[in-house]
Amino acid sequence: MTLGDWLTDFYVFVLASFLGLELIRNVSRLLHTPLMSLTNAISSISLVGSLALTGEGEKTWVIVLGTIAIISSSINAVGGFLITDRILKMFKKSK
């Protein structure tokens, strides 16, 4: 990776952080718990790293660690999105 690549990555990081701050600032307090379980699920994007690691792995120990990482992050992803939906379904307005 060249220095230019690093700078681009850093650029993306800074922009995404500010975008995140702006998006979350507007979220109603009512929705803070589902918001947190949603962002918790999104943080399991590390699954992408675990998949690459396991899929490309030649050595047994790499595959073992990679599979543990896949299990962990898919617990996070599946559980996070499912419970967020379960919570959101409960929010109802007065009739």
């Binding site: 990555d9 850093f10 990081f13 995404a16 500010f18 995140g20 998006l23 979350i24 507007n26 979220v27 109603s28 009512l30 929705l31 803070h32 718990t33 589902p34 918001l35 947190m36 379980s37 962002t39 918790n40 699920a41 999104i42 943080s43 399991s44 994007i45 590390s46 699954l47 992408v48 790293g49 675990s50 998949l51 690459a52 690691l53 899929g55 490309e56 790499v62 595959i63 660690l65 990679g66 599979t67 543990i68 896949i70 299990i71 962990s72 992050s73 898919s74 617990i75 996070n76 992803a77 559980g79 379960r86 919570i87 379904k89 409960m90 929010f91 109802k92 307005k93 007065s94 009739k95």
Partner: protein
């Protein structure tokens, strides 16, 4: 192929951003969750298309095991346990990030450049400290270990030394590039230790803040993994998660009038036995639920203040029943929601939603406070610190300055509580001794049930 994969990653990033945008309103929030799930699905598919990937069997096994653990955790978990589930989930996510970093190091340590070593160290440090920190938070929330802060003399020096040692180890590995397996394993061990030291002195009252901070760390860890793998989707998703955790913890700190560093290193929630000399001679009035139910007869406006006591007694459904009974008598009922009521940001809203209380009856602190003077009866269900007028009046109180619900300004206060014991902050509530307050001692569920029966028979 690479271009197609990158294009799908861009779509996935856009879906995550839409997901957070839609999450800001109840109307569109379910769309938000679907967009997030779709973004994740696209990211997985795109990654599996990579030409270097061949070990599909283990990937499939991993995902199947993960999904079969994650699904029951989400579907069967009672809503009172959502904070625990979230903490546990953070632990898993962070473990994955830590493990990926570890494997990368052992595979390619000697080929890594200086910036790669920097991001790898941060990823591994954040990943493993979040892992143990979240597990500990889970233990505290599940009450496997005591929720009160665990304090020992010189704890700040110990934590700081461990942190400094992690920094030193990383600095050495970064500048002495090459393969240092023992140093790397020490970094893992000390990061794990630091996570424990970080959460150990934090008490139940600060749990909402801790959970959001851990959320931010888990996200940042994924983001730094993105730097290492030169994957912009990971950087974006991780940064979105990081900033969301950060902003929520800042909001939680504001709601408690506490500084960030205070939450991280202080120990509110420690049981300070404030023997208040002025307490002697003060009278506490208490009634049975049956006697107290008469107070609702003349009432027109009632506000219910739910606290963790309600959650612990699983009393949200009886609260809803009581609401229906009162509304049948044309009494106006509202709920006053303090931002840090419960053990997770917004937890009370979820518990009440679970009991079918419509969300437009839930009123936030800023909007409900001016309404208290014209409220006939306030019913506090197991909420202590967030209603303590000492936060407004007594500069000597550890709660002083914390924004509270101005329950004391209402005409009549009914306080449901198990005993006279203190809340999370370990501080006596002045409200108990107010001439306007009547205590209803007992389990929240039972007291509320008795109230419902008596009001119905009137």
């Amino acid at each position: 192929m690479e271009n197609i994969i990158q294009f799908v990653y861009i779509c996935s990033a856009a879906l995550f951003i839409l997901s957070l945008k839609w999450m800001s309103e109840v109307k569109t929030s379910r769309w938000g969750n679907w967009a997030g799930s779709a973004g994740m699905a696209l990211a997985i598919v795109a990654t599996l298309l990579k030409p270097d990937i061949h070990g599909y069997l283990w990937i499939a096994i991993g995902i199947v095991i993960g999904a079969s653990i994650g699904t029951p955790m989400a579907v069967l978990m009672p809503m009172t346990a959502v904070p625990q589930r979230t903490a546990l989930s953070h632990a898993f996510g962070a473990l994955a990030a830590g493990l990926v970093g570890t494997t990368e190091y052992f595979l390619k340590a000697s080929q890594l450049s200086l910036p790669q070593l920097v991001v790898l160290s941060i990823e591994v440090f954040l990943g493993f400290l979040t892992f143990t920190g979240s597990l500990l938070a889970f233990g505290k929330l599940q009450e496997i270990i005591p929720t009160r802060p665990i304090l020992y003399p010189g704890r700040n020096y110990v934590s700081f030394s461990v942190f400094a040692f992690c920094l030193l180890l990383s600095a050495y590995m970064i500048f002495q590039a090459g393969y240092h397996p023992l140093l790397f394993i020490s970094l893992i061990i000390f990061s794990l230790l630091f996570g424990i030291l970080l959460v150990l002195p934090i008490g139940g009252a600060d749990m909402p803040t801790v959970i959001s901070i851990l959320n931010a760390y888990a996200g940042l860890s994924s983001s730094f993994m993105g730097f290492l793998l030169n994957n912009k989707l990971l950087i974006i998703a991780g940064a979105l998660d990081g900033s969301s955790g950060l902003i929520l913890s800042i909001q939680m700190c504001k709601a408690m009038n506490r500084s960030f560093t205070n939450v991280l290193f202080g120990g509110m929630g420690q049981v300070i036995d404030v023997v208040d000399p002025s307490r002697d001679g003060k009278v506490v009035k208490s009634l049975s639920p049956k006697e107290a139910s008469i107070l609702f007869e003349a009432a027109k406006k009632v506000v219910i203040v739910p606290g963790y006591g309600m959650a612990a007694a699983q009393a949200q459904h009886v609260v809803k029943e009581l609401t229906d009974v009162l509304e049948n008598k044309s009494i106006d009922v509202k709920f006053a929601i303090h931002p840090v009521a419960g053990r997770m940001p917004g937890h009370m809203n979820v518990l009440l939603a679970e009991a079918d209380v419509p969300y437009d009856k839930l009123v936030e602190m800023e909007e409900i406070n001016p309404l208290f003077p014209e409220t006939d009866v306030v019913l506090v269900v197991g909420a202590n610190d967030i209603t303590n007028p000492a936060a407004r009046k007594n500069p000597g109180s550890p709660l002083y300055g914390m924004p509270i619900l101005d329950v004391d300004k209402a005409k009549q206060i009914l306080f449901i509580k198990r005993s006279m014991s203190t809340g999370f902050a370990g501080i006596d509530n002045d409200l108990f001794y107010s001439p306007k307050t009547i205590m209803l001692f007992g389990d929240a569920k039972k007291v509320l049930n008795d109230l419902v029966v008596s009001i119905n028979s009137q």
